[in-house]
């Protein structure tokens, strides 16, 4: 049993980094302004990275920086200086698809490197080689089955990281050029246009096989591996990765708390309650989920044939608490969605079970006469008898 298994969460900005760690992640992966996929995520400046590392290290947690673009010639410029900057900022490791970058980081910058899932690593043959180079961790391809993962971990070659939750590429990661070929946006350098989620017709020669009101889709359901957490712990997996640097604060908080609870319950010998864990995640899901390749190659139940059915629940997320004064009982909150006065709200907290609060009125920019307000990122304050904490999430009961 791997009692110190790592829960690794994505963070698209500094606030998300803090939320991920507070809600239970042991480590976060973030992107800098250079060499990182997900270029539309609000990536971190070097100052942000340093602040994030300081925050994480005070909690005895880690920060990894994705440097996982497939570098073209012009991308090579400034690489070593950037890696040195990351090292100086306190980054614990980079995640890269480039063997050259990994070697440069380890041998010349003395910064650890993890091999990215962009390399689609499926077998011990490659893992042994990476280990021989001093690479301390390999992120397995999402196409690995539970049996594959068990056999790989059983050989105890190097640290193994597996995906447990979030979006699944339809293609082998790193092998997809759909976006690049169709839109000139290079997925292997962070520009993925998600062309696999578009609508297509299927033809046999000149004959269209699907009906006019139907379409061909190669899109995949998201991964939800909650039920396999005990297996991963028993196998000796080192790190469990949640996907989604583009995801919201609410998503990161929910998913981290659910998986944290599941891991802790299993390691503590408590009874597992998957309904409870999944109920936490349901508040933030925006796509149907499945078990990916963990049970072997996918069946049709893992595909998303009706893309229009994607559910979106983000409207429930009203805001996140940034401070609470115990004497005045005034809470300050960064608003994300509409707040209405004279209403009940639920509190999703990293420290307690969900509770209800009543907000009689709120104040924004000196005005406390508003019936409702919905300008995202504005700071509002309200009085709350119940003690709230920094990073508590406030949700609307109806929206």
């Amino acid at each position: 049993m791997k009692k110190n298994i790592e829960l690794l969460a994505p963070a698209g900005d500094l606030m998300k980094l803090k939320v991920a760690l507070i809600y239970g992640a042991d480590a976060v992966f973030i992107g800098g302004h250079k060499f990182s996929l997900r270029s539309r995520a609000s990536n971190f400046t070097l100052d942000d990275i340093k602040e994030g590392c300081d925050f994480a290290h005070k909690l005895n947690k880690k920060v990894y920086v994705t440097c996982n673009i497939v570098m073209h010639q012009k991308d090579l410029s400034g690489l070593k200086d950037y890696l040195i900057s990351l090292k100086e900022a306190g980054v614990d490791a980079i995640i890269t698809s480039s063997l050259y970058m990994a070697m440069l980081a380890i041998n010349e910058v003395h910064l650890q490197a993890h091999i990215s899932t962009q390399d689609s690593i499926l077998n011990t043959s490659a893992i042994k080689y990476f280990s021989s180079l001093g690479i301390e961790r390999v992120v397995l391809a999402r196409e690995c089955s539970l049996e594959d993962i068990k056999n790989i971990c059983g050989q105890n070659i190097t640290q193994i990281e597996v995906f447990i939750h979030g979006g699944m590429c339809s293609s082998y990661s790193g092998k997809c050029m759909l976006s690049n070929c169709m839109t000139n946006r290079d997925a292997n350098r962070g520009g993925c246009a998600h062309s696999c989620r578009w609508k297509y017709d299927l033809y046999d020669g000149d004959s269209k096989l699907n009906k006019n009101n139907e379409y061909f889709s190669m899109a995949s359901k998201d991964l939800n591996a909650l039920q396999f957490i005990p297996d991963f712990i028993e196998m000796g997996v080192d790190s469990l990765k949640i996907e989604g640097r583009m995801k919201s604060l609410n998503y990161i908080a929910c998913v981290c708390k659910a998986y944290r609870k599941c891991i802790d319950d299993y390691i503590s010998g408590n009874e597992l309650n998957f309904d409870t864990y999944n109920d936490i995640i349901k508040y933030c899901e925006n796509r149907e989920t499945g078990t990916g390749f963990l049970k072997g190659n996918v069946t049709k139940t893992e595909q998303l044939f009706q893309l229009d059915n994607e559910c979106r629940r983000s409207g429930e997320f009203v805001g996140i608490i940034i401070s609470y004064d115990k004497e005045t009982k005034i809470a300050k909150m960064i608003l994300r969605n509409k707040i209405t006065k004279d209403a009940n709200y639920s509190v999703f907290s990293p420290y307690t079970n969900d509770t209800l609060i009543y907000i009689e009125e709120f104040e924004v920019k000196g005005n406390n006469k508003l019936e409702s307000y919905s300008v995202a990122n504005d700071i509002i304050s309200f009085r709350c008898e119940k003690e709230l904490h920094e990073f508590d999430i406030i949700r609307a009961l109806e929206y």
């Binding site: 570098m71 050029m177 017709d201 299927l202």
Partner: protein
């Protein structure tokens, strides 16, 4: 520069034995996509026709298949063939059986700069194939620094490879009967182009709509060691035409611009990323 031709029959090897420098054959196992798959007996016969047979084992190698892969390599190695592999772990397994100087590593997308090429080069591969996502200028730069580089110089390029059987899953879900799985295309709703799509035992592959030809920038490629001609979806007679042109080019009877002109008369050719690098910085969207 060595011209390697992907073949669909033994007859094609015989007919082009003096025109190109080597022949690429798919195999009955561990080949994902190719012009045709051959049995061990056919590969053995091919080696009696040409000494330069390259077996294209381009399937991604799953962990549980490693032992079977070693058996296949051991058997094929007795025929003194060369190998082309896409999976890095597969390449390293071959290294335990034969020297890598008979192995071409073609990871399809990963070789995009001189430094990464150099890291793989040090392992001793016979050849390393540049990504089709980079410009010819970048291919030139990489090949100036690394002596054994190659490119896929002609043919339909894959643009999606999946372990999923996307066609089977879809047609099963909608109960659609597909008579001929070899002639399937996808067409995105807002675009006119049709993309070849294959469902194989290894998963699914989608191809670019038109062939890409690097003959038009041939002068930039003079330092390359390998020029691969993919022939999947290309008619037999058209393959022979390509080989005739290559032969004339090699013998200095014509220059590459004539080759390109002749090919343009036969094929719809797209530039891919020959000239234009793709975009990825946020401010570029």
């Amino acid at each position: 520069m060595l011209f390697l031709l992907e073949v669909s029959s033994l007859k094609q090897i015989k007919e082009n034995i003096d025109r190109v420098d080597g022949f690429i054959m798919g195999y009955e196992s561990f080949t994902s996509f190719c012009a045709n798959k051959f049995s061990f007996a056919e590969v053995e016969e091919a080696t009696t026709i040409s000494k330069n047979i390259y077996i294209n084992l381009n399937e991604m190698l799953h962990n549980s298949s490693q032992d079977d892969f070693i058996k296949v390599i051991t058997k094929l190695a007795s025929l003194c063939v060369h190998f082309i592999v896409q999976d890095f772990g597969a390449a390293l397994l071959i290294k335990d059986i034969i020297d890598l100087d008979k192995v071409i590593f073609n990871p399809v997308t990963l070789i995009t700069n001189e430094m990464d090429a150099s890291v793989y080069n040090k392992l001793g591969f016979e050849g390393i194939i540049c990504s089709s996502e980079i410009t010819c200028e970048d291919v030139k730069t990489i090949s100036l620094k690394n002596h054994n580089m190659g490119c896929v110089g002609f043919g339909y390029h894959p643009m999606y490879q999946s372990y999923r059987h996307i066609i089977d899953l879809y047609t099963d879900n909608l109960k659609i009967d597909v008579k001929n799985k070899e002639s399937l295309f996808l067409k995105e709703w807002t675009r006119d182009k049709k993309y070849h799509v294959l469902d194989t035992e290894s998963g699914s592959v989608i191809f670019r709509p038109y062939v890409i030809s690097l003959f038009k920038e041939f002068s930039l490629l003079s330092n390359l060691k390998f020029f691969i001609i993919n022939t999947i979806f290309i008619d037999y007679d058209q393959v022979n035409l390509i080989c005739e042109l290559v032969s004339d080019l090699k013998n200095n009877k014509i220059d590459a611009s004539i080759v390109e002109k002749k090919l343009e008369e036969t094929f719809t050719i797209e530039d891919g990323f020959i000239y234009e690098d793709s975009i990825y910085n946020p401010e570029e969207f």
